[in-house]
């Protein structure tokens, strides 16, 4: 018996962004080994050019409403997938621009860095489109392999090796859990596609299978109790890799989580709401409390990232279309604020070779621009109006209020107060303390682009979020039939200028 494969032109069109990126990364790799004398910055700008082309392609997909499924529903291109792909490609562009100075300091393997970043981005783009468990497994592993190498990239640095080793061992263990969970679910239902495994009866095998899959995805996003790799990995990895790792994989994993919970597990909502409420409370509380004690800015941002994931899980726990919108919007605000903060960390780290918070003393004296940018990004992460983080948190809490998750919201509000403390400590050090060495700091043009992009995004999303809200609402249109209050597109009444 033969199975036939029919791939028409329209089908191949759906794969166009990934095919473009694959061809482009082959070009980058070829130029790296074929022209060894080429300054490796050119490879960075070449990668950015390619990614800009992919981004334009994705924006065209979004505006023209191109979509469909391929390969027996394994690969799906819908507005949700296009949103996450744009998210990932945008992050990658900014990360590559922020890495240019850092990579100049490597002694060797400079070109492969850009290649590995592009590979991980490609893997995460595939993750955003994965619609069945086999694709989830293979794309998740693909995107993580690039990161294993990137985290351990500084071969001479003990911290980097340790970070890579810890990340790798815990990562493959999570992959083992994922494989075990997928095999249990397949054994119970006989199918792999998300819409097919939505079975009405909760047999023990199915429950344990989904719990294991959630554990593996929780590892990827860094939710408590699967967060143990985050502080050491973020601390030891090269800072641009940390920036990339703290944003993009979380977004891609949330694409999968949203599909899994809203499509496959829609029938068991009361059960998983409890699970997610627990994970959210633990993540927020643990992340915020431990962040207070940190002396190293990368570890501080690592724990703050755990707390931010706890916030996003509130949206997932709400389980409605509005919760899904809130998750997507919050991810956008998190992208700009976190990437901006890490860009400042990379810039300061390049210039003074240290990541301790003590060395941020008096940053205002040395570079008012950097200090101001850091202030904006940290306040956005904390959720202060009129910045993007405030709208993000407001949206998430509105989604949770509609579902009646009052305990969760109370814990969330307390955690906002706690998180303000450690963000403001850094701000205080920058503005009020005296610097040990008052020489001025300047940053290079690519880094300026990244910081300006972060500032623009944070301010724009905070003051005028309506276009972004329309975009995320359109992206989750397929979930309009979820159980929950009427999923009308909310126009937020802003306390200012509304």
């Amino acid at each position: 018996m033969t199975f036939t494969l029919t791939l028409s032109g329209a089908d191949l069109l759906l794969l166009l962004p990934e095919m473009l990126l694959t061809v482009w990364l082959c070009v980058v790799l070829t130029m790296d080994f074929a022209m060894p004398r080429l300054p490796k910055d050119r490879l960075a700008y070449l990668s950015v050019a390619g990614l800009a082309g992919v981004l334009a392609n994705l924006v065209w997909f979004d505006l023209a409403g191109i979509g469909g499924t391929l390969f027996a529903h394994m690969f799906v291109v819908d507005r949700l997938a296009v949103f996450f792909k744009i998210f990932i490609v945008g992050t990658t562009i900014l990360v590559i621009l922020a890495s240019v100075d850092y990579v100049r300091r490597f002694r060797f393997f400079k070109g492969e860095y850009y290649f590995l970043v592009l590979m991980s981005a490609l893997g995460m783009m595939f993750m955003a489109s994965a619609n069945d468990l086999l694709s989830v497994f293979i794309t998740l592993e693909f995107s993580t392999f690039g990161f294993y190498v990137l985290v351990a990239y500084l071969r001479d640095d003990v911290a980097s090796n340790e970070a890579g080793l810890k990340f790798f061992i815990l990562g493959v263990f999570a992959a083992g859990l994922l494989a075990y969970g997928i095999s249990l679910v397949y054994g119970e239902t006989g199918k792999l596609v998300f819409s097919d495994i939505a079975s009405p009866s909760a047999t023990p095998g199915l429950v344990i299978g989904f719990l294991l899959i959630f554990a593996a995805l929780g590892f990827k996003i860094g939710a408590v109790p699967f967060h143990s790799w985050i502080p050491d990995t973020y601390h030891g990895a090269p800072t641009p890799v940390t920036a990339f790792l703290s944003i993009a994989p979380k977004g891609a994993a949330f694409a999968i989580l949203i599909r899994m919970f809203f499509v496959s597990l829609a029938a068991f909502k009361p059960a998983w709401v409890l699970l997610l409420v627990g994970a959210s409370i633990l993540s927020m509380t643990y992340g915020n409390i431990v962040a207070i004690a940190q002396r190293n800015i990368k570890r501080l941002l690592a724990y703050s990232g755990i707390a931010q994931i706890g916030n996003i899980l509130i949206g997932l726990a709400a389980g409605t279309k509005m919760g899904g919108d809130a998750i997507l919007f919050y991810l956008l605000t998190y992208l700009f604020a976190n990437l901006g903060a890490f860009a400042i960390v990379i810039a300061v780290g390049n210039l003074i070779r240290s990541d301790e918070i003590e060395d941020y003393n008096g940053l205002n004296r040395r570079s008012p621009f950097l200090a101001f940018a850091m202030l904006v990004f940290l306040l956005s992460l904390a959720g202060v109006p009129p910045l993007a983080g405030f709208i993000g948190k407001l949206y998430i809490f509105l989604a949770a209020i509609d579902e009646g998750l009052y305990t969760l919201i109370a814990v969330g509000l307390i955690n906002i107060v706690i998180s303000m403390y450690y963000y403001l400590v850094v701000v205080k050090k920058m503005y009020i303390n005296e610097p040990t060495d008052p020489s001025p700091l300047t940053i290079s043009p690519p880094m300026k682009v990244v910081v300006y992009a972060g500032l623009a995004g944070t301010l724009f999303l905070g003051i005028y979020p309506q276009p972004a809200i329309n975009w995320v609402v359109a992206a989750t249109l397929m979930f309009s039939n979820l159980a929950g209050p009427a999923a009308a597109a909310p126009t937020l009444v802003l306390p200012i200028g509304g």
């Binding site: 033969t2 082959c26 070829t30 080994f33």
Partner: protein, 127 residues
């Protein structure tokens, strides 16, 4: 995939392999066994001491292991898997037509790129 023929008939086709493994094992075991049984046993302290050209051995035989062995083993695994994928493709080649050829060319093209990369970067040099 339960078969239409009884399991013993199916496994019977592998009997020659089992026989082969059995003879290989028996060959090694029987020769050692017979030599153990037939050898004269008159141990003395002089005969039992380690033979190291006159001096006692003072450390184990391990030396720092060159990492290039590991790189070659790793490259071997990767290309081995490429061959594994080629084999079923070759078996169904007549059924999957031009599309099948193109997809395998893409697959091999990516490996070719990896190979040229390894070559140009000197990973295939022995020293």
């Amino acid at each position: 995939m339960t078969g239409s023929e009884p399991l013993l008939d199916y496994l019977g086709r592998y009997f020659s392999i089992v026989l082969f493994i059995g003879i290989a094992l028996a060959f090694g075991v029987v020769t050692l066994l017979i030599s153990y049984l037939v050898q004269p046993k008159y141990p003395e302290a002089e005969k039992l001491s380690p033979y190291e050209c006159g001096s006692e051995p003072f450390s184990d035989a391990r030396m720092p292991f060159p990492v290039r062995y590991y790189i070659f083993a790793m490259l071997f695994v990767i290309f081995d898997i490429e061959v594994i994928f080629l084999y079923p493709w070759a078996v169904v080649f007549d059924k999957i037509g031009l599309v099948g050829l193109v997809e395998m060319l893409v697959f091999i093209g990516l490996f070719l790129m990896a190979y040229v990369y390894a070559w140009k970067k000197g990973a295939l040099e022995w020293d």
